[in-house]
Symmetry: C2
Subunit: 196 residues, 2 copies
Amino acid sequence: MSLDHAILGFLADGDLSGYDIKTRCVDRDASHFWTADQAQVYRTLDRLESARYVTSKQKIQTGKPNRKVYRITRAGRVRLDDWLATSHALPPYRDPFLIQVYFGSELSDEALADVLERTRTQRQMRLSALRERATSHAMEVGSGADRAALMHRMTLDAAMAAERAAIDWLDDSLDTLRSLAAESGSQRQLFREDQA
Amino acid sequence: MSLDHAILGFLADGDLSGYDIKTRCVDRDASHFWTADQAQVYRTLDRLESARYVTSKQKIQTGKPNRKVYRITRAGRVRLDDWLATSHALPPYRDPFLIQVYFGSELSDEALADVLERTRTQRQMRLSALRERATSHAMEVGSGADRAALMHRMTLDAAMAAERAAIDWLDDSLDTLRSLAAESGSQRQLFREDQA
DNA sequence: CACCAATATAGGATAAAACATATATAAGGC
DNA sequence: GCCTTATATATGTTTTATCCTATATTGGTG
């Protein structure tokens, strides 16, 4: 469902082929809030065309395979605008990493800390990539930021905020784990102190 | 795949029926990081049994329908521990709400602000529910928090941190939208100042 | 000249998730 | 007496997403 509207959104700004949508839109512009593989994009376009939300035209190219260029219809615009203006229920939270943490007591302190640290590295890499994109976005639009550019920037900020929050939590949790390990390391001593 | 390991994790702590796993574990204990419907739970248990990661025994009950109680096998424990100790790739980011923001320039300032505000309300409700759970968790374990209880608490903290980050971002974005609306409201005046 | 990357679309197979329905018993409220 | 809730499991269907493979052309690299 969501991909339908994302594609309609991109087409609202101008005609595009499936290839354009996959490489330029989904993989580049929308990669920080949505992903879809090539098959999904083409099949979604087929579905949107059957439902008359988009139309297509063959563009004959020389030197390259022909393109099928899609255009949004009036019905497509209506559907997009309706969806955009609707407040949808929050999708359920789903984080496989938190399953690992929840059952983390099965592991040793070291093994668990290792998993957290690796996750932190991955999140940090993601955050760095987002920062780069935010910087280049700022360079492109300069001071004359139009409304669309501002919205795009806001989505980057949301993704960055989420990554930062995750990283901060990871740091806190790693601290907790370390003090836990230190505590259990001095267990015997603590026990003797209790007895005294 | 993740549900497989979550179920193995719950079974590692003791035998459970499909009904237990759905109502006690998934819907209550794990609801802040995973969801699954009843059909998914029963079918996953079938699959885990076929793969010999769990075994089952019929328990005859009087007054209630009979139960099928599952027990984790040695192979199941190995599989669980392997998975827990492995650092998995981050799942792709996917947030339908950010699709709405990305194409939000299609909407009026008011319509967009309304969508953000409603989302804020939903997030705030989720955060409140998480806070309640964290409080009752703290009450239950008291000062004698064992390792498992600490991990459970950490997952609640992660979920709360994510909600707080989302709410902060929503507040910032709503501020931005409001100043944008104020700016465009005084557009004519600004234009005259530019001319002067 | 073989191989690979880029351009461009499409379909088969499978996995994961969501939605709906069926079946059966007992307790409690209206 | 009827309806709802709780207990308990199972299957059918559809949607969404992922993975893999097929097809076809051009240009560049080794």
